[in-house]
Amino acid sequence: MWLRIQRLNQQRFVLTAKDCSTFVSAVCVHQLHTSSTEPASSSYNGLYPGHIHTTPIQKALLAVGSGVAALRDPYRHDMVAVLGEATGHFALINLRDRMRNDPEGYTILTERPRIRLSTIDVAKMASLPEGSFGREYVRFLEDNHVTPDSRADVKFVDDEELAYVMLRYREVHDLMHTLLGMPTNMLGEVAVKWFEAAQTGLPMCAFGAALGPLRLNARRLQTLVTSLGPWALRNGLRARFVLNIFYERRWEQSLEDLRQELNIEPPPVILSAAKKMST
């Protein structure tokens, strides 16, 4: 019987080797077929789940296309996200290095926390005292009818760590709104974009900061130019780097305290969480 099992093993080995060679030749054939992009599959063969390989030409086309689409319809968050990914390579490297050089930022890079409804305890945060960071964040989510789960996945960043940095930036965006006291209407978003552009240097933020005001009416444009804009820029330049804060450990901290720690002034104008469709 031992001999029979050994023969079985040999046969299995032979068949597997043959299957392997057909598999290898299939891979070679399909690499011949793929001109410049690799096939996308649900069981991912990119660097991280959801990764799609793109050539520089495709990134350029994506940047132009998503920029136009985002301008035409600012509510297409996926286009803003794609624009950020297609244009942000060098800025992301800079952000990643800044995170590495800071102890708290380095902890974030190693622990990779995620801000999603499944990882944060919204009920617990809602029960925190008034004025605490967690409580104000939950208030922001409720007032503006947003959820942390609506962020698009990162697809076009060609490095696994940089993809996390991009994702972290995206997930921290709502916390920026809370820290700056800005609602999610057009004026609030533009103010946050000015702040983020100064902080991160991402081309997408600069793009949004420059072209976003085009969609504001005269009154809001005036508010932006005279008080909100300069305040956002000033604070963006002097505040501590926002990606280096482990927000998940600071829900109990008072919002004022956190603002002081980060060197952010409170907003000069209190904006109400206006209806979603107004600009």
């Binding site: 046969q11 299995r12 597997t16 096939p39």
Partner: protein
């Protein structure tokens, strides 16, 4: 890649099981028992896991059907916009060419398989309507001074001729939904019906239709030969099979431009307009996996069609294949 690894492992395990069973069968045979059923069970498992291509990926046949369904479910809402964007509007020329070659006459019964958003069916009904108007005008011109007898005869014969009918059949309910919405907004309803069905197993009786069309759908079918046999079955004798599909471009310059455009631009357009890169990646890859004009002509002939010919459109980017059931 992980999918094909899993397939390999499964196949290896199954083959080893078969070895064990065969050896056991061998032993049992020696001891005088019959082990037939367990061996047969192994072979039927093999059939279920036959693999095919999904774009450039290798998947099992059941998985391909599911994934194709998912692709079209995702793209249905933006399907028409994407067609215009990707082909720069040229897909309208291809579909018009199909109708011109088809040249349907009033009374024809059309089955448009994988007809989804109804482009072919709408064009068919419009073409028939124009034909009918032309016929009426010709009849009016030729009978300039009819007698009252003739006029009353004309009134009675008008309703007797069979009304043309277009049936749009698609496996994907989302695509049919979009098609129905289009029909409503165009105000087209007479002679049009929408049926959910699988091209490999059509829910129609034999010898039903004069014309069977499948436009840009047959490359998504898992078993093309079965779809062709079904087409033969539901056509009346004398009926025509017509297929519009992406095909091989022979001119090397045009081919390299076409490849570059397909792989560089189309997934980008898919991402920007429809927010779905992967579905359009699948679409351009599936075009490369489809047989070329001559091979497909051979497949149509094998299914039993006669007078099979093809016309190359746009340099071979699209081929229109036609065959008759005699």
């Amino acid at each position: 890649m992980a999918a094909s690894m899993r397939l390999l492992v499964r196949r290896a395990v199954r083959l080893s099981h078969r070895n064990i069973t065969l050896t056991a069968a061998g032993a049992a045979a020696r001891s005088g028992c019959c082990r037939g059923p367990s061996v047969c069970r192994c072979f039927s498992d093999e059939a279920e896991d036959r693999s095919t291509h999904f774009g450039f990926e290798t998947v099992s046949e059941t998985e391909k059907a599911k994934r194709v369904y998912k692709v079209f479910e995702n793209v249905a809402q933006k399907y028409d916009i994407m067609n215009d964007a990707m082909s720069l509007g040229i897909h309208r020329v291809w579909k018009d060419a199909l109708l011109h070659v088809m040249h349907p006459q009033p009374g024809a019964q059309l089955l448009d398989v994988a007809g989804g958003t109804g482009d072919i069916a709408f064009r068919f009904l419009e073409y028939i309507r124009l034909q009918e108007e032309r016929q009426k005008r010709r009849a009016a011109r030729s009978s300039q001074t009819p007698s009252w007898q003739d006029i009353s005869n004309n009134y009675s014969t008008e309703d007797e001729s069979r009304e043309s009918r277009a049936v749009v059949c698609d496996i994907n309910k989302e695509m049919l939904k979009v098609g129905k919405q289009k029909a409503d907004s165009l105000g087209v309803s007479a002679g049009l019906s929408w049926v959910v069905g699988d091209a490999e197993e059509l829910p129609f009786d034999d010898d039903q239709f004069d014309i069977y069309t499948i436009a840009f759908g047959i490359r998504n079918v898992t078993h093309i030969d079965q779809a062709l046999q079904e087409a033969l079955r539901v056509l009346k004798p004398g009926g025509r099979f017509m297929c519009l599909e992406f095909s091989k471009v022979n001119n090397p310059i045009l081919s390299s431009i076409y490849d570059a455009y397909s792989f560089q631009m189309i997934p980008v357009i898919g991402e920007v307009i429809a927010g779905d890169w992967k579905s359009y990646q699948y679409l351009v890859e599936s075009i490369r996996k489809f047989p070329n004009q001559e091979e497909f002509k051979g497949m149509i002939e094998d299914a039993g069609f006669y007078c099979v010919k093809y016309y190359n459109l746009t340099g071979g980017v699209v081929a229109l294949h036609s065959g008759f059931k005699l």
